[in-house]
């Protein structure tokens, strides 16, 4: 059921981002962590944002919801619309309301995303009391229901415990319960499984997907692992050095990437069809220094297909059908080019 359950007004995308930019002024100059990223997210769909560490995927999404601190000297630009409403133009109070009601977020590390001195049940009920006006008894009851929903046994007892009494996987379930408590339209999962055991990762991803489908939420799944995004995301945006370098449906990406970086990422994934002891290919070199960006394609120094023009000019994100890619030498015309 991938239909948009909670359709947005005027039929436009739920979340629309145009030319998002985040810069940090450092002693070495302006560091462009996010450099002009645009995308749309329809209600009820899941967008996977994939990229290696430092590619700007977390900063991008955090900047959308005002979590990139102004105190840290960040310069945030671009146009963000949620349900057609200009998010950046809201007053502080209205923005808080919007965050509380319409957006939920699950962080990477459940060790730090829960308040160590507040009981679980209370943490879950906090948003309900703030945004839904529930009294503490009602919020506490709802918190227990939410604990049941995210699959925590003995919810009543757990609700009166502190975070340190729970395992990592359970804490992440609690974090999910907090994120979905106010029935948000958009759920952001920022590397939700990176800090967890492999055995728990799948359960958490399944839980996120189930909640997303049942509630018809849109979801942004940030991950450095294409494998995580594979079965969960409808669309994938690949980020490199603060830019979106490829955007397509998950199927298209896996059937035939157009951007060499995406191809390189795919080739670094193990495949069941590979012979045993096949070496995984690593991407040579290192990501560029974001404070000293050259003129050309930022992936060029590591790219096997680079030519003179790659180093002279930055390729724009070109559109072809429903997908986009930023490359002068796109791989194959849709066919399998996993050379």
């Amino acid at each position: 059921m991938s239909d948009a359950a909670s359709g947005s007004v005027n039929g436009g995308p739920l979340l629309s981002v145009r030319d998002a930019r985040v810069g940090f002024s450092t002693v070495r100059g302006l560091l462009r962590a996010v450099d002009g990223v645009s995308f749309d997210l329809q209600a009820g769909r899941t967008l996977g944002i994939v990229g290696e560490s430092g590619s700007g995927k977390s900063v991008l999404v955090r900047s959308l919801i005002g979590l990139v601190g102004t105190g840290s000297g960040a310069i945030v630009g671009g146009d963000v619309r949620l349900d057609g409403q200009d998010v950046r133009g809201l007053s502080a109070r209205n923005f808080r309301q919007l965050l509380g009601r319409d957006i939920g977020i699950v962080f990477q590390d459940p060790m730090t995303s829960l308040n160590p001195v507040m009981k679980i049940g209370r943490q879950i009920g906090e948003g309900l009391r703030l945004n839904r006006g529930l009294d503490s008894a009602a919020a506490a009851r709802r918190a227990v229901e939410l604990l049941v929903e995210v699959g925590i046994p003995e919810p009543e007892r757990r609700a009166s415990q502190y975070p340190h009494e729970l395992s990592g996987g359970m804490r992440q379930r609690v974090a999910i319960a907090i994120a979905i408590a106010c029935e948000p339209k958009l759920l952001i999962a920022d590397e939700p499984t990176t800090a967890l055991d492999v055995t728990v990762q799948r359960q958490i991803l399944d839980l996120l997907q189930r909640e997303q489908r049942e509630r018809g939420m849109a979801m942004i799944l940030i991950t450095h692992d294409l494998g995580v995004a594979a079965g969960r995301a409808d669309d994938i945006m690949v980020m490199y050095a603060g830019r979106a370098v490829e955007m397509a449906t998950t199927r298209e990406i896996f059937r035939g990437p157009r951007m060499p970086y995406t191809e390189a990422l795919l080739r670094s994934l193990p495949r069941l069809s590979d012979a045993t002891h096949t070496r995984l290919s690593a991407i040579p070199g290192r990501p560029p220094d974001l404070a000293r960006r050259g003129t050309g394609c930022s992936f060029a120094p590591r790219c096997a297909y680079r030519s003179a023009c790659c180093e002279a000019e930055e390729p724009a994100l070109s559109r072809e059908g429903g997908r986009g890619f930023a490359c002068f030498h796109p791989l194959g015309a849709g066919g399998g080019t996993s050379a």
Partner: protein, 285 residues
């Protein structure tokens, strides 16, 4: 079933045998506090009543801790002096921590210009020689319990601000604070509900140490003659009085000095103990 599973962990944490390093300081501080509170009702002689014939008597059955230069009962004066020291020692850092804590938490949370201003203010306060500042303050405003407390309270602002600022900075970047913001919590709510409860344990541990520092500072002020005004006993004042007769009646200076020493030492022990308990490295797990 899982209640019993949780039990061994609890026992392991709490079941440590009470060490003497904890029990003795705790008992001493409890005794001092108890006597200071009940001083009026336990039949002590008037701490200001002079009996000049019986001056500088060594400890005896009648005068358990002897008498001072003016023939006043030392035990009574120690206990009433303890009341003074505790009032100043508890209230001054409390006042300082209230203001310093607010400054430090705002600075650590908002950063930017607020931080710059706060740190500047703290550095200015720190740049003054502390005791000279307190002396000036008391000399100018006049000697009274309130003024001494106020002066010493102001002196404890910078330290409190620094501790709370550092702690707030450590907590303010945790994801749960971001998470609180995404559920629509205001800055005030985040500061008071999310960060304050986490900063408080460290502040309390530091406050215990501050109490002992202030008791010593009050003693120094009294010793210099700018502490609590004369008839009212205080430990520092008693040491100052006893100094005159150090050769003939050493107990008049040594007993208050020993009592102050034990109290300060105990408070420091307790402060360290609490600090270990709230060590951030352990509290995160």
């Amino acid at each position: 079933m899982s209640a019993s599973a949780a039990e061994p962990a609890t026992v392991a944490r709490r079941g440590r045998p009470i060490s003497w390093a904890l029990a003795l300081p705790l008992a001493w501080v409890a005794l001092v506090v108890f006597l200071a509170i009940t001083a009026d009702w336990i039949g002590l002689p008037d701490p200001a009543a002079q009996e000049l014939i019986l001056r500088r008597k060594p400890p005896s059955a009648e005068y358990l801790l002897g008498t001072d230069n003016l023939g006043r009962d030392m035990l009574s004066r120690i206990i009433y002096g303890g009341r003074t020291s505790l009032i100043v020692g508890i209230c001054a850092p409390f006042f300082g921590f209230l203001i310093g804590g607010a400054i430090g938490m705002s600075a650590g949370y908002f950063r930017g210009k607020v931080d710059l201003l706060a740190v500047g203010f703290i550095d200015i306060l720190l740049a003054f020689p502390t005791l000279v500042l307190a002396l000036t303050f008391v000399a100018y405003l006049g000697q009274s319990l309130f003024n001494v407390t106020l002066a010493l309270g102001i002196l404890s602002i910078p330290a409190a601000a620094r501790v709370s600022r550092a702690n707030t900075m450590a907590w303010a970047n945790r994801d749960f604070v971001l998470a609180a913001r995404t559920i629509g919590a205001s800055n005030w709510r985040i500061l008071t509900r999310e960060i304050l409860p986490n900063v408080l344990p460290a502040m309390f541990a530091f406050w215990l140490v501050a109490v002992s520092v202030i008791i010593v500072a009050e003693g120094a002020l009294s010793f210099l003659g700018l502490g609590i005004p004369a008839p009212q006993p205080s430990w520092g004042g008693m040491i100052a009085d006893g100094r005159e007769a150090l050769d003939v009646a050493p107990h008049t200076a040594l007993i208050p000095a020993a009592v102050m020493f034990l109290t300060v030492l105990s408070l420091n022990f307790l402060g360290d103990m609490v600090r270990n308990l709230v060590d951030p490295r352990r509290s995160t797990l």
